[in-house]
Symmetry: C2
Subunit: 243 residues, 2 copies
């Protein structure tokens, strides 16, 4: 591996080192539980300041790929936690990650005045319009759940039925300079309603998973509320928690 650092690149040196370390971990140059070279060693190897190496390592520690032990060294963390099922993922991304083929059927797509609850979640004054989208979500052509999505019209005035078939998140990150930040979600179990049982082809005494998620841009401004109902017998919600 002749990975070299290009000091004149517009890519920051610490990013390049970060990438190099990630690839070395992936290629098992540094194995799980083993130490990587010390910060001083790396700073000599790449001919950069130790602080620059530290910035690269700190990022990888924050993302859970490495961990430090004072006086001992820096080690490769167990990849079980790394990234696979963490983070904010759309239904489509989620299903693909599980090896299933996602599809959707749009039942409704319209502008409405939302309830006060939804308006409050989105930091909107009462009476302001939102897009209201209802979709059946399928995995391998079997219905998995129903999603009700609310998005402020003034955030995405040109949204239409075509665009929501692609990645909404990518759309939003492209439109604003900002990235999508965090989300807060509430998860409950309940019995299926009559309406839902029809769409999901369930018997009326089945349990379902209800998820309500509010997603925020990195400046803390909410851009989406999603209320979902998933079949309990086929959908498992998996997430990672960081302390």
């Amino acid at each position: 591996m002749h990975t070299k650092i290009d000091k004149n690149s517009r890519i920051p040196i610490y990013s390049q080192i970060e990438e190099h370390l990630k690839q070395s971990i992936y290629a098992k140059v540094y194995k799980i539980g083993e130490s990587i070279p010390s910060e001083r060693e790396l700073s000599i190897q790449f001919d950069v300041s130790r602080m620059t190496v530290r910035q690269a390592i700190t990022n990888l520690v924050n993302s859970g790929q490495l961990y430090r032990e004072k006086g001992r060294g820096t080690y490769v963390a167990n990849p079980k936690l790394e990234q696979p099922m963490t983070g904010l993922r759309s239904f489509s991304e989620d299903m693909i990650a599980r090896g299933m083929k996602p599809s959707s059927k749009v039942l409704r797509f319209e502008k409405i005045i939302p309830t006060l609850d939804i308006a409050n979640d989105l930091f909107l004054e009462p009476g302001v319009e939102v897009f209201y989208i209802v979709r059946i979500r399928n995995a391998d052509n079997k219905p998995m759940g129903i999603e009700h999505t609310y998005i402020p019209v003034r955030l995405m005035p040109d949204l239409d039925e075509q665009k929501i078939l692609g990645s909404l998140y990518a759309l939003i990150e492209g439109k604003f300079q900002q990235k999508i930040g965090n989300a807060v979600q509430q998860i409950e179990a309940s019995l299926v309603t009559k309406d839902e049982s029809k769409h999901l082809k369930l018997s009326p005494t089945s349990a379902v998973l209800n998820i309500k998620r509010i997603s925020y841009l990195s400046d803390g401004f909410p851009f989406e509320v999603v209320e979902s109902t998933y079949r309990a017998d086929s959908y498992k919600f998996i997430s990672e928690i960081k302390r």
Copy 2:
């Protein structure tokens, strides 16, 4: 506020600045969406290097309390996301955070040979012993759920029925130098079983929330598996996701 920085304290300067900024945000000295003083200003105010100020701010940016805009400044993020419902919390911490009084009743406390599934989750060879703890979890003296906990005996050989009444997490963080890292969890909905309905005082056609959580130390080693069943009518699982 005459918050001063003690350069001779054993508490790092950046931690002190971090604390000062957090308190200033809390006290609305810097309001939501407003900018905090520039890094150069703060470094003069505290008479420290700008890099030290940056370390403090970087931590607050990573924890979502501030966000930066190049060429403009650093701003206070919306606190809705801040910390309240995030992170790995024990049932007790969780209930207290919701303003309820938690209590527990231990139904079983014993050493067993776990199933292969559990052993695998805990990185144990087949046949290795674990503590098996079954508890009824109450909030304001009403049963909220049942928890089945599995902990490798060799990790906590001196665990007993008294100790688990306190904070298990604090116990573990004290015992090992390591801190508790992340957790991976699976959440499902189902109908209550006959046995559970008895303990939770539920009718046999009630929905319940099933949560399985594997918790890891910061080096990626698992130390606990918890399988929980919560009443759907009174328990709502709330979490925060970071992208």
